[in-house]
């Protein structure tokens, strides 16, 4: 007798239907799983034996074949257990035919005692189930909320018995599907109360904070430079708290990729509600950053999607790793190509990089002496420049703070808190949202060069200033474009519809990356 139940498999983030067929024939007792199962799927036999027995079912000593179709595609994961169990029960006549209809997607791993345990990548599976035309889902109770975010009716099940009873019940008696954690899924995304990291914890550094605010307002990539101990990573860690709350769609995208890498913070709430902050160590390989491995797993750039990727000690990252960041920075997505498959992940993140100003760290320090030779400085500059620096809009130099600032004695010019700063950022983002409605970009940092004329019109004074700067500092066209985008963001922060020369001036100040290598020798030149 043949029976069939339905489940789903993933290739990267993309799913495809898997029909689980069970065939029970007379003959020498045997059990075979075919259809390219991986080790975990093959081992389902042992789990199923225990689970069936301990749920009050049995498995007759017959010749049993389980086929996972399409037979050509590789199947991984343990979430086929539930579908296999249903197919077996039906094939052995222990449950009525097709109580699990063709439009019901069964997902769940079984424990030996028959409980249905939590699985990975639930959200992706649920979303793909919806796309592929399933009308309902049965998932482990622990994954119910994550699955419900996809919008299909979800039947949470705790055990195999419960699943059989639930799905076997006549329509009228079926319990209502899970409806989400009370209320709409759009709530949340606010930083949690008692969020310990506030901008006002950082003493002094008013200019660096301002730079970070501008970065947040227009989604500009930013480079923090300064001697060790000036609070570069403290500042970087406060960026997610300045960004607008996540939209439901964004939460879904983040949760999908995070649950794929098996590290969803989903256990608690189903959806990831916080903007990701990824800070890979500088020894990270290119594969760790962009993804890869035998299963084309997402890397740090994909995990930072809609969040912040923080590269501390930028100069220490390998050239290869930095080179690999180009594609995601440019395209907002990354294609991870492996021998047999290519998987595409979205990777739209804000880059925050931090580095010392020179190998010894004291270049530009107001009191300590930098002991680097010109040769060392040249090498360092070479390491830092190149493709990545081209994608950075803002340079924020940080100075060591003076004792008075540290002790709070200095006249603190109203150190802004994260909350007030965020309000300003939200205001600027709102303007951008309205301005770019219907476009394929949403923030100033991503205005394409061809649209700059349209969105970043300068007044006469602003234009004059920009022209003077381009002459004096011989800036490239790319830098000019960057300055325009930045001035747009600064104007938006000031709620000013037109870009004025003061906005251009601040933009010029924020993106003068060549100031890093400014040589005091210029002072000796005759005027």
């Amino acid at each position: 007798m043949i029976a069939r139940a339905h489940s789903l498999a993933l290739r990267g983030l993309e799913g495809y239907c898997v029909a689980v067929e069970a065939y029970v024939a007379n003959g020498l007792p045997a059990y075979a799983v075919v259809g390219l199962p991986d080790a975990a799927v093959r081992e389902s036999k042992e789990r199923l034996m225990g689970a069936l027995r301990n749920s009050g079912f049995f498995l007759a000593p017959k010749r049993i074949t389980v086929n996972l179709s399409p037979a050509r595609a590789r199947k991984e994961g343990t979430h086929f257990d539930l579908a296999i169990a249903f197919a077996l029960l039906e094939a052995t006549g222990q449950i009525p035919k097709s109580i699990a209809g063709a439009r019901l997607c069964l997902l769940g791993e079984l424990a030996l005692d028959g409980t249905v345990v939590k699985i990975e990548s639930t959200l992706s599976l649920a979303l793909e189930a919806k796309r592929l035309g399933f009308t309902a889902l049965a998932v482990p109770a622990a994954n119910a909320e994550e699955a419900a975010a996809a919008g299909l009716p979800v039947h949470p099940v705790n055990s195999l018995r419960e699943a059989v009873a639930l799905l076997g019940a006549p329509d009228g008696e079926k319990p209502r599907p899970y409806a989400g954690p009370g209320g709409d899924g759009a709530a949340g995304g606010e930083p949690e109360a008692g969020d310990a990291e506030d901008l006002s914890d950082i003493k002094g550094q008013a200019f660096a904070k301002r730079a970070m605010t501008v970065a947040a307002a227009g989604a500009h990539n930013i480079l923090l430079i300064g001697p060790p101990g000036t609070g570069k990573s403290l500042l970087a860690r406060r960026l997610p708290g300045l960004l607008p709350p996540l939209k439901t769609q964004e939460m879904i995208e983040i949760t999908r990729v995070h649950s794929l890498s098996g590290r969803s913070g989903a256990a608690r709430s189903g959806l990831v509600r916080q903007r990701p902050f990824r800070a890979p160590h500088h020894s990270a390989s290119a594969v760790a950053l962009v993804g890869g491995g035998p299963w084309a797993k997402p890397g740090e750039v994909a995990l930072a999607h809609h969040g912040v990727l923080f590269l501390d000690e930028l100069a220490e990252f390998s050239r290869q790793a930095l080179e690999a960041l180009r594609e995601p920075l440019e395209e907002g997505r990354i294609t991870v190509a492996r021998a047999r498959e290519a998987v595409e992940y979205q990777a739209r993140f804000m880059l925050v990089a931090a580095t010392n100003s020179c190998p010894c760290g004291f270049r530009g320090h107001p009191r300590r002496e930098c002991l680097c030779t010109p040769l060392m400085l040249g090498r360092y500059a070479q390491r830092l420049s190149g493709p990545l620096l081209d994608r950075i809009d803002i340079l924020a130099e940080m100075n060591p703070i003076a004792f008075d600032e540290w002790s709070g004695k200095a006249r603190e010019t109203a150190a802004p808190s994260s909350a007030t700063t965020r309000q300003a950022v939200l205001g600027a983002r709102k303007i951008q949202e309205e301005r770019f409605r219907g476009m394929d970009f949403a923030v100033n940092a991503r205005i394409p060069a061809r649209e700059l004329r349209r969105f970043c019109r300068l007044d006469g004074d602003g234009l004059k200033l920009l022209e003077a700067a381009s002459r004096r500092w011989s800036v490239s066209a790319r830098t000019l474009d960057r300055t325009l985008r930045l001035s747009r963001t600064i104007a938006d922060l000031g709620q000013s519809p037109e870009i004025r020369s003061e906005h251009v001036a601040e933009a010029l100040d924020l993106n003068r990356l060549e100031r890093l290598w400014a040589d005091p020798a210029a002072l000796a030149a005759p005027l």
Partner: protein, 299 residues
């Protein structure tokens, strides 16, 4: 690197007479370029890691002296030495570099271009060491006695108490040369050497004109050469109209290098207008922005 090299023995005509007089005068000099023993020379030495103030001052002094026909002598080191050579070249004057290694190479390597320009513009590279001698630490203090020995006076711009500049100045004093020191900010460790010198009898120097009447006989020597002085340095740019905000910033900067935060404190301004002023002033060539968000005056 060794082509155009010539050797000048002590006692031969053309060997600088001033140098001949010193107690342990070198037996011979290797020379690349032109060493005109008739040109009066003054040494400018200082820190290898000068402050913007030191750079500005050394360059101004070297330009002024070179324009008057004085050869600027220094050691081709990083920092003040290099600045002095460079500024002398800019003013169209002759400048002599005394090296701490053989003339087969140039140390520090990033001054190779500068060395070429010194030779090309009528100055010279000098060393008492054979061409293949390496730049060993032991060579440098000895080359200092040649720097001072060639010169009628020796100017120290910036340096710490334990610095080669101070050694050169002491040697100059022993050789009976006039020693000058340029005062620096009291707060800067780089002012230690010049201030120590001033306390111990060196002459105060604030402009190139002063060397003329503070070194006895220098003016006569220059007049005797009757060589028309190189074109005087272009007159200072006509005073620019400077807004009130700008003049306040310039005043606060004075001769110091201030960070953006210090500057904001000093002029008591909000961040945004201050930044706008600074960008404008940088574009107008009044100030320079240095790494670490520090600013210094250019004039």
């Amino acid at each position: 690197m060794t082509d155009g090299l010539c050797v000048l023995r002590r006692g031969e005509p053309g060997f600088p007479r001033l140098l001949e007089e010193i107690p342990d005068a070198p037996g011979a000099l290797y020379i690349r370029g032109r060493l005109d023993p008739e040109i009066p020379a003054v040494a400018i030495v200082g820190s290898r890691r000068p402050s913007p103030y030191g750079i500005r001052t050394a360059a101004a002094l070297a330009r002024g002296m070179a324009a008057k026909g004085i050869a600027v002598v220094s050691g081709l080191a990083r920092g003040i030495d290099g600045m002095a050579h460079q500024a002398a070249l800019d003013a169209g004057g002759a400048t002599w570099a005394v090296l701490g290694c053989g003339l087969g190479q140039v140390y520090p390597p990033e001054h190779r271009d500068l060395a070429e320009r010194i030779v090309a513009s009528g100055g010279c590279l000098i060393s008492e060491l054979p061409p293949d001698a390496a730049p060993l630490a032991a060579h440098f203090p000895r080359r200092n006695r040649i720097i001072s020995g060639l010169s009628m006076g020796c100017v120290v711009v910036e340096g710490r108490l334990k610095s080669g500049s101070l050694i050169t100045a002491k040697l100059a004093a022993e050789q009976g040369r006039e020693v000058f020191a340029v005062p620096g900010p009291a707060s800067s460790p780089l002012s230690q050497a010049p201030h120590w010198l001033l306390e111990n009898g060196a002459s105060l120097l604030t402009s190139a004109e002063e060397v003329l009447w503070k070194i006895p006989g220098l003016e006569d020597k220059l007049a005797a050469r009757s060589r028309p002085a190189a074109a005087a340095p272009t007159a200072l740019p006509a005073a620019r109209r400077v807004s009130q905000g700008w003049s306040k910033i310039l005043e606060s900067l004075g001769s110091e290098t201030l960070t953006l935060d210090e500057l904001r404190e000093a002029v008591d301004s909000d961040a945004q207008p201050l930044i706008q002023h600074l960008v404008d002033m940088e574009l107008s060539d009044l100030i320079i922005a240095l790494p670490g968000r520090r600013y210094a005056r250019k004039t």
